[in-house]
Amino acid sequence: MTALRTLLGHPVPRRLGEAVVTLLGVSVLTFVVLRVVPGDQITAQYGIAAGELSPDQIADLEAYYGIDQPLPVQFLSWLGGVLTGNLGVSANSGVSVAELTAQALPNTIELAVLSILVGLALGVPGGMLAASRPGRARDNATQAGSLLALSVPSFLLATAVATFLANRLGWYPNGEGYRTLLEDPWLNLQQMLLPALVLGISIASPVLQTTRTAILGVRAEDYVRTAQAKGVPARRLQVRHVLRNALIPVVTMTGLQFGFLLSGALVAEQIFAIPGIGRQVLLGLGQQEYALVQSTTLVIAVMFVLVNLLTDLVYRLVDPRVRVA
């Protein structure tokens, strides 16, 4: 119990307060932006034909969508719904946003976790390799590779990889309908492989740079030399003293990337046809579905806040200095 309390430390209540303020801010901002964009659900629904609707019809439709109310009332009614567990309904499909999210979110989380794993698996050893002989060929090659990976836009890489595999090898698992991990684990993993790889490669690059810089910094620390002076062999020195300390900034970096991934890897989800949270927002935006966009954005913001808390927790695990209240 006490261990957990030290780990969570003093700032938790304050962090929760901050989180509430953040979420409220995000909601207001999304609400405002959605209303500022020209057009509304009616024009999105009927397109040019919307111009032919009679004032009465428009009034009826506005009443149906609930956009005839004053803006603050619209916002508060949405907020009230959210607080009572009602995220609203997607007007087009008639499915509740909660239900849509429940389907999309696991896919996004799975993709994010896999991408982060790929990113760490490539980035951390890459950074160690680059840092092992700074300024030498190995370092330069690794860094050039990572820069290239960072420079290539993921939509290009994704399209290229998908096209190549489908055309040349005839392997395109994403061509069939998407299967969740629970429905068909084997196919699901095949479907996730490419997007995770593409996203992972773009994450690997900053992870690699951070790892390299951190290792070089730590290696110059006095305590590394002191450990050497007590006879610690090279491998143990590298793992227990250098890497252990160098991972601290890497954790922060990874947490940030993880947060972005959870807000939906729009491009990758779109190209590889993965029904994730990013696609859900995209869909809502196209149709100007206020409730869908508004609520999904809130879900994304919640994920972001949670990931930040999680990062903090991991940070406390790897760095005892921040554990003190």
Binding site: H10, E221, D222, Y223, R225, T226, A227, Q228, A229, K230, G231, V232, P233, R236, R240, H241, R244, N245, I248, V318, D319, P320, R321, V324, A325
Partner: protein
């Protein structure tokens, strides 16, 4: 006994009678730099007998730490041993392979590093770091290793060691961390312990305790000690023999007592004369300041008139209090607690205390970098917290700071000229040509060659940098200069020069100094009046002579007792 190979040694006593446990012969260390090869250590000889303590003394750049690093074969990547031998027992370390060296380091040769704040792995509990030494040398594992580590921590002076075993370095004070490092270095009972400035980063009272405990633990475990230090007084007090290094060479060595009583080499003599614990007072006492002295040098401005009339107060702190809020604590921390302090015009007032005593916060109040939470700070009769606009600007001109680390307080991209001229530019003094002339005058005042005006801080020595900082402080012709540990980071000889400069400038310009330091010995040399601070309060004040002769409170007594080389001063 044969004559020492250094030639500067004495016929007997400078070589141990038994076979040395560590023997350094004609050691040479070369560093490859962008300016070519630099030989940092040139033919050093050193012998260490079992159970003996030998001190290696020298200024920064003398090569003393390089010797330590070379012995452990832990030189920086661009350094190499270019000649000579290092023999530990029967093993030539200069010829040993890396694998052998790994077995030697920590096992037969313990190292205590300089800065306790940076030498422990921050993410590893301290106990585990000691256990690691036992583990890598296969001496103990598991419960047994833990028990030994706890015993070592206790031996090094850490109370409640069994609990503290699992704590992390940041939960320990500097002195405690150094004790951990000492326990770590001695964990495998090495025959030789090399301690490189083990206590330079610590408060004086802590320094004394830690050195006592290190000596006790080392002798208990049978380790001979090489103590590397910049402090000759400390060396003479702690070591059986002293080796004095200068510019990579040993200039003199011998038994501590003889070397101090009768230094043969000119450099040793200068070091001894400059040691603050021994050196002569630089300013005349306040009591005698009214009377004309031999050359009138001591008489501060305005004090030439009759009698010991105190000059007008320039800076006055009355009941000054400063509190800081600390995260996670309800009660604010009182850094400065109802301090009354007066700096008379033309005088030097010193504030002495250890870290956390509130002395630097006092300096910040005087500079109005902070406002007092209670009480007043007056300068020339005006409450400085009320100053706004032009009046504040005028105050800023009149009060100038000089900080401890001139390397950190000078902008690395500014040349000497730009740094010194900056306050003139800020306060719009004259045009560029006029300012150029002023800068030349200022450089002359602080005895810096004009040729240095285009250099940048990294191209200057520590002493030169501090002169630049003083020149910059003088640029606006201030009335008060606040010196926050301004000479603490300097080598003794340089420190002596800067103190002389300060005293000279005070005489010529009638400056007042608020001199903040942890070093009571330096205070004795330059201050007219001393305030001793402890935990935010002034616990004692008075003339330095009186404070040294008859300290009123225990804390002052402790501070005085902790000054190394008491015996030397009494001699």
């Amino acid at each position: 006994m044969t004559t020492s190979p250094t030639g500067a040694g004495r016929p007997d006593g400078d070589r141990p009678r038994t076979t040395p446990v560590l023997s350094v012969r004609d050691l040479r260390v070369t560093f490859t730099t962008s300016h070519g090869d630099v030989e940092a250590v040139r033919g050093v000889d050193l012998d260490l007998a079992a159970g003996e303590t030998v001190a290696v003394v020298g200024e920064s750049g003398s090569g003393k730490s390089t010797v330590a690093a070379a012995v452990a074969r832990l030189l920086a990547d661009n350094g190499r041993i270019s000649g000579g031998t290092v023999t530990l027992g029967d093993l030539d370390l200069t010829a040993a392979d890396e694998r052998t060296m790994r077995g030697v380091r920590g096992r037969r040769l313990g190292m205590v590093p300089q800065d306790p704040m940076t030498n422990l792995n921050p993410v590893m509990p301290v106990g585990a770091q000691i256990v690691e030494a036992l583990e890598v040398h296969g001496l103990a594992t598991g419960r047994q290793a833990r028990e030994r580590a706890v015993a070592l921590l206790e031996g090094a002076g850490i109370e409640d060691a069994a609990t503290r075993f699992d704590q992390y370095p940041h939960e320990f004070s500097g002195g405690m961390r150094q004790r951990v490092l000492i326990a770590m270095a001695l964990a495998c009972r090495p025959g030789v312990l090399v301690a490189d400035e083990p206590t330079s980063a610590l408060d004086v009272t802590v320094q004394r305790l830690v050195l006592d405990q290190m000596a006790e633990l080392a002798s208990g475990l049978g380790a001979a000690v090489v103590l590397i230090t910049h402090d000759l007084a400390l060396a003479a007090e702690r070591a059986d023999r002293v080796v004095v290094m200068y510019r990579g060479e040993v200039v003199e060595s011998g038994p501590s007592r003889d070397l101090v009583a009768d230094p043969r080499h000119e450099y040793t003599r200068r070091l001894l004369a400059a040691a603050p614990g021994v050196a002569r007072r630089k300013v005349t006492d306040v009591a005698t300041a009214g009377r004309p002295t031999e050359d009138g040098a001591g008489g501060p401005v305005g004090a030439g008139a009759a009698g010991p009339v105190a000059p007008e107060p320039l800076l006055e702190l009355t009941g000054a209090t400063k509190r800081y809020r600390i995260r996670g604590r309800r009660e604010p921390f009182t850094a400065v607690d109802e301090v009354d302090l007066t700096v008379p015009a033309g005088r030097t007032v010193a504030v002495v205390g250890e870290s956390g005593s509130g002395k630097s916060t006092t300096a910040r109040l005087a500079l109005r970098l902070e406002d007092a939470d209670a009480g007043t700070v007056r300068f020339g009769g005006q409450d400085v917290s009320r100053l706004r606009g032009k009046a504040l600007l005028a105050f800023r001109r009149s009060v100038q700071p000089v900080f401890q680390n001139p390397y950190a307080s000078l902008d690395p991209r500014y040349t000497v000229e730009e740094a010194v001229a900056e306050p003139l530019v800020v306060h719009q003094v004259g045009d560029a040509a006029h300012r150029r002339g002023l800068v030349s005058g200022l450089l002359e005042k602080v005895a810096l060659p004009t040729a240095l005006r285009d250099r940048r801080p990294h191209e200057l020595s520590g002493g030169q940098r501090q002169r630049v900082a003083i020149a910059r402080a003088l640029a606006l012709e201030p009335r008060l200069v606040v010196l926050d540990e301004a000479v603490s980071a300097l080598d003794v000889l340089v420190q002596e020069q800067i103190l002389d400069l300060m005293v000279g400038l005070q005489r010529d310009l009638g400056l007042s100094y608020l001199f903040i330091t942890h070093d009571l010995a330096v205070v004795r040399l330059v201050a007219h009046e001393v305030y001793v601070m402890q935990r935010g309060r002034v616990v004692e004040r008075g003339e330095p002579e009186r404070i040294f002769a008859a300290p009123q409170v225990d804390y002052t007594r402790e501070l005085i007792a902790a000054i190394p080389g008491q015996g030397l001063a009494a001699r």
